[in-house]
Structures are given as C-alpha cells and as structure tokens.
Symmetry: D3
Subunit: 183 residues, 6 copies
C-alpha cells in the first residue's frame, strides 16, 4: 500500500512496515467528548485527532471546547486554512483580513454551522453565552502550526520599549501587561 | 483580502468583488440535520457544505447519513484523501488497498470515531445496525470528484462481453446485473 | 548532479552516491518486445520501464500487450493521469467520467494513435480484434498506483450482503461471482 | 515566450500580448533610495518592487527603511517565507517560533548581513541605534500578504471584553490601547 | 466531467463546454509516421501530439525523427523532465550534468530502449548511423518550453565581444559562426 | 519550531535538533564585500549566502561581482526563476526567450535597478564599463542548479562532429574552441 504510516506523529519520520499496518492505524476515538487539557490562561480545550496513517494526507483535525466566558484568543495557523463545524452550543467566531484593511468578519455560530478561515489569517472563538460550545476543526495541513498573538507578543521576552512602540502606549503599560505572561 | 470568493461554486470562476464580501460568504448552516436528497438506489444522503469563500482553500466537506440497512457503496475520490468523524450512530466502514494486495481495512465506527482514507482508494459505508448513522466527511480538495464503482461499471453502457470478461462470468449474468442500472 | 538515483525502485529511498552514477542508471531496454508475466485472469501483459535515475522525475512508463480476446479490465490510477500510444495492432479503449454522469468515451485505437485519461478515472482496454495489440503508456507519477475494480470489489473479502446491495442483485449472484476471485 | 506579463500587478489578471513585451516589463528602478510613503504610526518606509513580468515567478521584493527609534512592529506574511539583506546601517531584528515555545531569535544585523524568517512566523525590526537602516527583503510569493499584529488586534474593532481576556488585563486598559488605533 | 478541454492548445484558455466534448478530444492520430516539418538547419523532424483534452494533465508528447547524419542539437526544456523510447533505428543520445561537473552521460540507443533526462539539463540526439531513427518523447509538462543552445547564443543578436568572451575565442571566430545563424 | 535546520547545506539532510538551534542558524554575514573565489575563465565572483535555517524555505541568494571587462557568460538555472538588484556599479544584463523566438531582452542596469529572469531561460551579465559591478541575486529554489552554456557544450567532451553540426561550422573550428575548455 502506498501510504506512509508513521510510528510517531511528526511528519517525515520513517514509515511503519506495511506488513504490520492495521485498521487502527487509520482510526481515532474520543471526539464525542472534550479533551482533558484545558488552557490555563484562556479556558479552552483542544483535543487533537492523532491518526498515524494519514501522516502524509495533508490534513489534521482537532476538537475544540470553549466554556462559557472562555476564549480561544486571536491566533493563526502559518501553514493551513481552516474550516470548523459547531457540534454543540454556540460561539462568537471571527477572522480579520490582512493589511491594510484589517476588516473583521464575525458572527455567532450555532450547532450545525460551518465557517472557513483563509490560510494564515487571525481568527478567534469567544463563548459569550451560557452553554458550553464544542467544535470540530479541520486544517489543510498535517503540520499547520499555531501562533497565539498575545503569547508571541508578550510571552517571548520582547524588550518593553519595542512593545510600547508596537502598541502606541507607554513603557509602564507594556510592562504591566507583560507581567501576566511571565508569571 | 487575498481570497477568491466565487459567485458560483465551481473552482476557477471569476471572483466576487472584495468590497461586497460578507461574513455569510464564509458560512454554511444545516449540518446538524440530514440532507434531503437520498440516493434512489442506495439509501444514503449526502449534504455538501457550500461556502463561497473557501473556493480556493483546498478542502470540501459533506454530511453523510446512512439509514439502517443502507450503504454508500464502494467508491473513491480521484483528487482527494478523506477523513470523517461519526456524529451519530454506528457504521461499518472500510477501504481497500491497491493492486496487487487488495487488502481491506474495515471495522465498525461509532460516535466520536474518526477514520482516514488515502487519496483515490476504494472505500464504503454500510449501516448494518438498527440506528441511523451520520458522519461529517472532509476531503482534501475543493473539487475531489466521486466515482461509484458499480455505476461506472454498469451505468456507462459497457458492452456485455467486456463486463463478462471483467467479472469472470457469463454474458447472461453480466446482462442481468446491468439491467438494474439501466432502469 | 542534482538527481536522486535510487538504489531500489521505490520513491523516497536513499540516493546512490553521485560518483557511482552511470549512463545505465538513466536507461532501460526491451520495450520492443512484450513482457513475460501475463495476467492469469485477464490475459494482458504489463512490462514496467524501470529506470533508477528518474526516480524523482514524476513519470513512469509501461509497455502493455493485449492478446486477441483479452482485456485489461476497468481500472484506474489513484495518483496519475495517463496517455498511451498504440505501437502495434488495434484495441478498443475507453474511459468513464465521474459521478453523476458516468459517460463513456470509447473507440478503437490503431497503430500511431494516442489517447489520454484524466487522473483517477476508470478506463479499460479490450482487444476485440484478431491481432495482438501493443501500447506504450505514460503515467504522470513515479508512483501512480493501480486499482482494478473487479479485484477491489471481489478480491478483498467484502461480505456478500454488501456486494449484493452494491450491485442491486441477490446474495447468491454476489457469492457466485466472488467465488471466481477467491479461487 | 511562456511568461505572463500582467498589465496590472494583481496575480491572475489576463496577460499582456507577448508581441508588446519590452525589457522594461522585467525591470524596476529606485531601490537605491528610500520610498516616500512612511508609516504614520511606526515610522518605517516600504518600497515595493513592482515588475510586471515576474507576476508568475513566485517571489516579491521590498526595500524597507527604518529611521532611528522607529520600528516595523511585529508582523507576519501568511503566504511567504522571507530573507533580507541589510543595505545600510544596523537594525535589531528577531522572529518568534510558534506555540507552545514562543522562543525569540534576535540580534543586531549590520550592512551585509542576511537573515531568514520561516513562513508565517512573527518577526520585527527595531532601529535602536542612531543611523538610518535600509534593507532589501525577498518574499517567496508574489502575493505574500502582511498582517501587523497590533493592527489586527486593535484596528479591527474587536469588542473590549475579548481584548481584555486576550491580554489578561482589564477592560479599561484594553479600551485605552484601542483608542490610539481608532484615532 | 472535471476536465478542461481547451479549444486551442495553449494552457489556460477557456474550457470547451463539457456537453460538447467527444472521444476525439482525447485522441490524436499519426504517430506511426514522421512529421512533415523538418528543421532547415539540423535535419530533425518533430511531430507534437496535440490532444485538446489533456490540456491540464501535466504532460506532452512528441515524435522525433532524425535522419542519418542529422542532429537534434544540444537543447533543454526549462519546465520539464523527459523520457523517450526509440521506435525505430538507433541514435547516439546524451545529457550533461550541471555546473561545475559538466559530466556527460551518453550511449547509442536502439529500438525498444528508453532513456531519461532530468528537468532542465542539456541533451542531444545524433544519428551517426545509416538508418533513419524515430523516437517517442514524453515531457512532464503541457508547456515544457525548448531552448536550443546554439540558437540562443548565436540567433538572438548578442554582441560579438560577449560571444568571444563566452567561448574564450577571438572576435572574428565569434562573428563568423554567428553569420550562419543570421542568414 | 517547525523548521528543518540542516547540519549540512544540501536539501533533504536530517535536521538539527531544535533544542540546539540558535539565531546564527538563520544568519549570514559578508554580503557587503565580494567573495574571494573568482572564475578563472570569466572573471566574475559568486558568493553564495549559506544559512542552515532556510534549508527548506524555497529560496537561495548569491552576491555576484563582475569586474570591468568580465562576463558572467550565458547560463541558466534549471529549477529557479531569478531576480537581482544592482548594489554598485552598472552592468549590461539580458535574457533570451525560448525557441522559436530567441528574442533578447537586454539593457544596462545601474545601482538600485532590479531585473527578473523567468525560470530556466538563458541570461548573462557583461560589465562593459569601467567600474566594478556588484549584484544581489535571489533564486526561487534552495537548489536552483546552474548550467553555463559554453561549459556544457565544450567542457563535457562532446565529439567534434557533433559540435561542428551544432554550430553550423567545420571540424577544425569546433576543435579549436574546445581546446580552450580542455586546458
């Protein structure tokens, strides 16, 4: 069979011997329940679908749960476009177009709704309702990457004067925001 | 915005004027319910997700419902790999590797299970249980194509002697099977 | 030289040391005669052109011979389009478009004729004349794959009830056809 | 000649008649001087190289000037990797790896130094010296896109509560920073 | 059918209405005989296979005939690798690796032999025997391009001093060779 | 970080352990001065930018210096298009379109001018002035390849009769030119 079944989930690893491939190499269970590892800062939970078989198939999938009041803050995927279907609940979703427009496309999505995000654009989820929301997201790469904007800006150790200039603010404000990301 | 929002759903059409793009161009509703157009022959229902925005994003999505006793018979997509998550019920799913192995990978999938099919390989769904089954399928192309094997073999008007030789059978058997596909 | 000359014919293997590359790594002989390994079931012979050098060049070639009365039954290549030129004799060739059209494009091809098959579509060769036919086929991938429809349906061990539903026929007919593929 | 010379600079437009193509279609002048349109907010100047000929060649180029004290604030290109050579002066440059590492790679670059940024990663320029700095940047796409993080976050009209949650801060701080971007 | 059948042979033209597509759109006749338009300078004949259907299939084909004593002089294809099978006769074929090796891989090829040329490398055909030779060549692009080195050097109007420096020779020799290409 | 930092500069090698990656893996110094290894035959100097980090980023860069009276003789890159900016001095640059046009696009380029060359087309640099010229060239591949036409024709050991036929000249002239390339 002309399929590379990886022994580990990173793309590019040596393939499993085809003689030892089983149906389970193309299978993953548990997307009907939230994942267990919630973001400490933001309260969302991401459960990645890990199937050894599709390592070279050019797609990956994640179940995302967002509790009431929680956000999956503005982020993007450097190497993938995304679509997602709402499995349960409702969530305020939006994405922002690139420079110089910075135009936001946003609305509340409910169970059975599907939305799409072009490759590399900033998008967010905000559960501003009272019920838990669950989504099933598809990314057009097996190695899409994730950049959370606030983490990249305040969690990487940028000098305060660069941050102040970036946000058109003073050194003190920049430093105070950064403190939350250093703790 | 660097996204081609098509006015019609065929890939390659002229793009919508960016100034007239709205959130709804990236949105589709109704995946929480089965589609309405069931296959007359096989009893499955396919509801394609039609979003104008992701016309160039390299993916497409379909909700598939399979009633008890119904099949989505052996088929393949010439231009896409596939993954699918079971939304409700259970279904016997499998795919077949290529020549000369013709090895089948199959098992029953239940709610929350995900499976993957490499590009162009034959696969099927069979609801051999008693509850309706629903799936959400993702294809790695906005124009994946679909070939149903039995339709291609018996619905295209092949001469009976070619079909008899193909199935290692007699002209009469080939002709009788074909009759069902011509009516 | 920026060419990966593989030691074995599978794509992706470690490359031969460029210092040991010779003209023979880019050469194959014998396409002027039929191959020796005829299909037991169908009577066609396929002689693959095996050149170590073009392992990464994105094409592969095969000489195909079809004896009078023999077929290369309906099949497709999951990862390649195909063109072929008739070297000798004549052959009835056709391909079928995808769902929902299932339209067949077919005619008799003679020496010096060339035909083309889009990627992943079902096609066949049938020598319904009295002279041997020979073709030289080009596939747009070094790893095109091959799926013979009848083998995938009856040679993979599908349950009889799935096959009966697939062909709109009874269990007995499905079982009888399958017996030929199990022997 | 098999080159699409576009009449306008957007990729995908109808090509110029090859008979009317001239050397100037493959030529651009002025990269030896800064561009004239400085960013009002940040003080950097970008001069895009606009050559009609290479519309389909998969690369684009920009001269960037950063005055002492000015920044090209954290940004990324959704569809391109980047390399740049320093033509004059010195500049503090860095990029940040993706989640969950958020590791920064940064140092001062001087005349004749070249740096590279993987596709889609956040990077910045900060002239923390006393001389003007000039760079010549190459992007691996003719349509790379640009997202400036602060603009996407504060210039798109996100609700203040989303911004407060994103930056782990209070509504008032979020609102005050946003005010600068709304004026 | 998801195939673009072009009305003219240039890639990118508007597609034919699928309803008017016929088997002949995927068919070409005459490869069993030499083409009629021999090169005035070199004596080879090239007969391109022109099939409207495979306009987007990523391959093209040409029958090449080389009379005894004639050459298809050193040339390359900017956008394709090549393989070719000898249909009749014998021909001395070779290709040259790139800088700095400039290593030649060459030998005499006879009926039924196949050779391969990596993308963009210089290659030639020389019939140094007494029988006409015929080949069937496959290029891995529908728009491979052709550059004949001597034509590019002497047929484009380069100044004589550039040519003299290029060939490490004197102005007079450069001018004399060029005269043959200007007549 | 999802970047392959190669230990050696050839594409495809095993990646460096991400934990040992440093800013210097994305950095190269010295483009403000000419390289040291001038071509013995032609007098140009090429200084390749060697950055381990961008091994998989799809681009490469070279500083090229051409002394007064020197040439970078007609050559092409089999796997890349090129753009270049003039850093200092002036140079006569041109490229030639493919068969059958062989049309030359050429003019003198000065400091701050940028030119573009479509993939695989023949181009040259000729410093016919009195000042040294320096350029910074960008190629759209990390493995673009280089073929110098005169070297490929006269440095690979082609038989004299093939060369004579190629240049429409006599054996003696072909042999004499070749002698310069064999010494």
């Amino acid at each position: 069979m002309h399929v590379c079944v990886a022994a580990v989930r990173v793309n590019g690893v040596p393939c499993k011997d085809p003689a030892t491939v089983t149906p389970d190499d193309f299978f993953f269970a548990g997307v009907d329940r939230p994942g267990s590892a919630a973001s400490r800062r933001y309260g969302f939970t991401a459960l990645p679908v890990q199937i050894p078989g599709p390592n070279t198939l050019g797609a990956s999938h994640t179940r995302v749960d967002v509790a009431p009041g929680a956000v999956f803050p503005p982020h993007y995927h450097p190497r993938a476009s995304e679509t997602a279907v709402v499995l349960d609940g409702a969530v305020y979703f939006g994405f922002v177009t690139s420079y110089p427009d910075n135009r936001v496309y946003a609305k509340v999505f409910r169970k059975g709704d599907v939305f799409a995000v072009p490759q590399g654009l900033v998008h967010f989820l905000y559960n501003n309702g009272t019920e838990p929301a669950a989504l099933y997201a598809t990314l057009s790469s097996q190695n899409p990457g994730l950049v959370i904007l606030a983490d990249a800006l305040f969690g990487a150790g940028f000098p305060d004067d660069l941050l102040a200039k970036t946000f058109l603010t003073d050194l003190d404000t920049a430093h105070k925001i950064g403190a939350k990301f250093r703790s």
